[in-house]
Structure formats: C-alpha cells, structure tokens
C-alpha cells in the first residue's frame, strides 16, 4: 500500500525523516474560524501527530463561505466550532490525535494550553487575544505564527522567542477597537494564502529549517505585496520579550469580563470568579415560558428573549446578540439568569 504521506516524503526538504518529526509535533491552533480551519486541515493532512483546537464560538451560516471544515448541518445544529472542527479533522486523518476545547482563550487558561506544544498557530479574530497568546508563547519559548486577514488583505509573521521580535514589539500597544473591527467582509482566497504561509513556516520550523523575521503582507484582489525584515524591531525593553518581561496581557485578562464582538452586534459575558452559570439543563427549565426558539445541544443553549438572541455555553460564557453595549448586555443577562 502506498504510504499516505508519500508525496510529502518525496519533497526533499522534508523527506522520510521530516515525516517522523511531523508525527512527533504538537500544535496548538488558537481559533477555529477561517484561518484556523484552513491551517487545521493542512496540518492534519500533513500528518502532524497532535493538534489542539480551541475556539469560543459556534457555527453560523455566515461562516460557511470560508470556514472550510463546516457544513450546513453544523450551522443548523449550532455546533461549537471546536467540536465540529475536531469531528471533521478526525475524519480527514484518524491516525493523528485531535483535541479540542470550547472556551475563550484568556490570561488564566492560556498557560495550560500552550504547555508542551511544539508551536502555536494564530487564528484568532482580535488583537487582545493575540497579545495574550503572544505573552504565553514568549514565556514558554514556543514559536508563535501570527496571521491575520480582512477583506482581501492579510499579513503574517513568525515570532520565534529569543530570536525575533515578538508581536508586542511590532504593534507596541493594543489598537483601538474600531481599528480591528471587521465591517468590510473577507474573501476566502486571502484566508488560504495567510494560512498557507503560516503552515509553511510550521513545516519549516518542525524540520529545523530557518524562518527569517520577515513581516509579509498581500492584498490578493489588488495583487499587491510587501515584505519588511522586522529583525531590528526587537525591543530590549519590551514588556513581553525584553530583559525585564512582565507578560502584561496574562494578567490584563483578569480585569475584563465583557467583550464586544466587533462587527457582529454581540457582547460576550464571562462570569467573574465566584459566579457561575447554572447547568444548561436547569437553565432551560428556568427559561421555559420566558424565552422562545430554544435550541439545545450538549455544548450550548440558544434562545430568543425579547429582541435579543442569547447563547449560553457550558463553560459559563454567554453571548448576547442584538446589542454592542456591554452595560445593556449585563442588564439583559441579569434579567434572564437572575
């Protein structure tokens, strides 16, 4: 029988030896949206031995245009992306180990997620989470492959702790919410390109090939590309990778409890310490007669309440669709949960 990896092993820079290294690799993919699903499929087909996928959201119809692991059935069932992605990836390659977690990556859980990983693929949709992951990657000295895209434009950079600048050196501060807000849409080819750059860097790093500190951008619609050697931006005073690093974003998360999901008219509430959501079963009993259009699966409970759509997750988070005001979202939450 022909080995499923034969074409990849014939590729000289990888070879049979490289295939063994790929099998031993453990990769964390943070986010299972467009970039995350594209990377996950390529890495699984390439035979990376262990994948961990973490995502906080569930599949919606508007995802199907570019998030390649999901089907109409997943959208109908509002399956959490982490669960749907794991199922599809495991069907693509049953020989590898795939773990997934339905959770919001934050300063409190990221250490556990990155521990023992070979490298981390960035596939998140906001800067705050990126900087949290960047802090943890540098702290644990694990390469972090940054990638982002919007509209027809995308960019990538490989953070290699101890060698290159980190993401914090490059962006210097958390951009204002409106600068990251996705209101201009996105087309799938740019997703594929950005993910292809990230996965190529992953294959190179796992095989011991050098990855230069190049910041690269492409606008696929305009056919415009740029490349800057960012090596000189490594900041010795950087709070994340400098000599007196404090990893500020790992504790920053302690302070935030509500997130506005940009461009989606949605607020996420995360229970603070000492407050938890009742189990979903109990919650669904409690909501009978007050909420409409209830859909429940083992991972979440979705319902309509007045003009809002509310989704409760098993891990305690709640999404309130229909507002982008955190204060209003809290009032609705308190009214419905009590």
């Amino acid at each position: 029988m022909t080995n499923r990896y034969s074409r990849q092993e014939l590729f000289q820079p990888i070879g049979k030896e490289g295939q063994v290294k790929l099998k031993k690799a453990r990769i964390l993919i943070v986010g299972a949206g467009a970039l995350g699903t594209a990377s996950a499929e390529m890495l699984a087909r390439a035979g990376v031995g262990s994948l961990m996928i973490v995502d906080r959201d569930y599949v919606e119809w508007s995802n199907l245009q570019r998030q390649q692991l999901y089907t109409e059935k997943d959208a109908r069932n509002k399956l959490p992306k982490a669960i749907a992605a794991k199922q599809r990836i495991q069907a693509v390659n049953s020989e590898i180990s795939v773990d997934s977690l339905v959770a919001d990556v934050n300063g409190l859980n990221i250490d556990e997620l990155v521990k023992d990983k070979t490298l981390i693929i960035d596939a998140v949709d906001n800067f705050e989470t990126r900087l949290i992951v960047n802090d943890a990657a540098v702290k644990h000295r694990i390469p972090f492959l940054f990638g982002a895209c919007v509209a027809s434009y995308g960019l990538t950079f490989s953070v290699i702790p101890g060698q290159t600048p980190c993401l914090h050196c490059l962006v210097n501060h958390l951009p204002a919410q409106n600068a990251t807000c996705e209101t201009v849409g996105v087309i799938s080819p740019i997703v594929q390109i950005v993910a292809a750059f990230q996965v190529t860097s992953a294959l190179k790093l796992i095989n011991g090939h050098e990855v230069p500190p190049m910041l690269q951008s492409i606008d696929i619609w305009e056919n415009d590309r740029a490349e800057i050697n960012a090596g000189s931006l490594r900041n010795p005073l950087c709070p994340t990778c400098g000599t007196d690093a404090t990893f500020p974003y790992l504790s920053y998360e302690n302070q935030t409890r509500t997130d506005v999901l940009c461009g989606r008219n949605t607020v996420q509430l995360r229970p603070g310490l000492g407050r938890t959501l009742p189990p979903l079963e109990q919650l669904s009993e409690q909501l009978k007669g007050r909420a409409k259009d209830m859909i429940q699966n083992p991972y979440l409970l979705s319902c309509s309440f007045e003009e809002y759509r509310i989704v409760f997750f098993k891990d305690g988070r709640t999404l309130i669709h229909g507002t982008n005001e955190p204060a209003k979202a809290r009032i609705i939450y308190d009214r419905i949960v009590g």
Binding site: L35, G36, P175, E182, I228
Partner: protein, 67 residues
C-alpha cells in the same frame, strides 16, 4: 514625484511630501503600520520629518485584526 511603493511605481500627488503625508494619503494614519524607507524601518516619531524623494523605495504593511 514617483516612488516604488510595495514594489510598484506610484506617482504621488502634490502635497504628499513626508512619510506622514503618505500614510494620510492611504488612510492609514490611525492604523498600526510599519514603514520601511529604502530598506530602513522608520520610527513613528520621524514620520513628519522624513521627506520622500523621487525614486525612494517604500514598503508599507498595516495590521488588521481578523482571522
């Protein structure tokens, strides 16, 4: 003047003289952006004082949040 922007020849309109003008021209003034002028990355505090000349090679990459 004509510069090479991201590898392409671009004729700049009059009034675009500095790196800051260039960012304004492309509506990138409020974005996180890294600008390389003739293979040298420019500091943010130099944007207003760095004048562009004919034939300059500029690479400009801005950050976005999506994924």
């Amino acid at each position: 003047m004509t510069i090479k922007l991201n590898g392409r020849s671009v004729k700049l309109p009059t009034g675009v003289n500095t790196v800051k003008d260039l960012l304004d021209h492309y509506n990138l003034e409020n974005r996180i952006v890294i600008v390389e002028l003739n293979k040298q990355i420019t500091e943010k505090n130099q944007y207003t004082s760095l004048f562009l000349s004919d034939g300059d090679m500029v690479e400009m990459i801005h950050f976005v949040g999506g994924g």
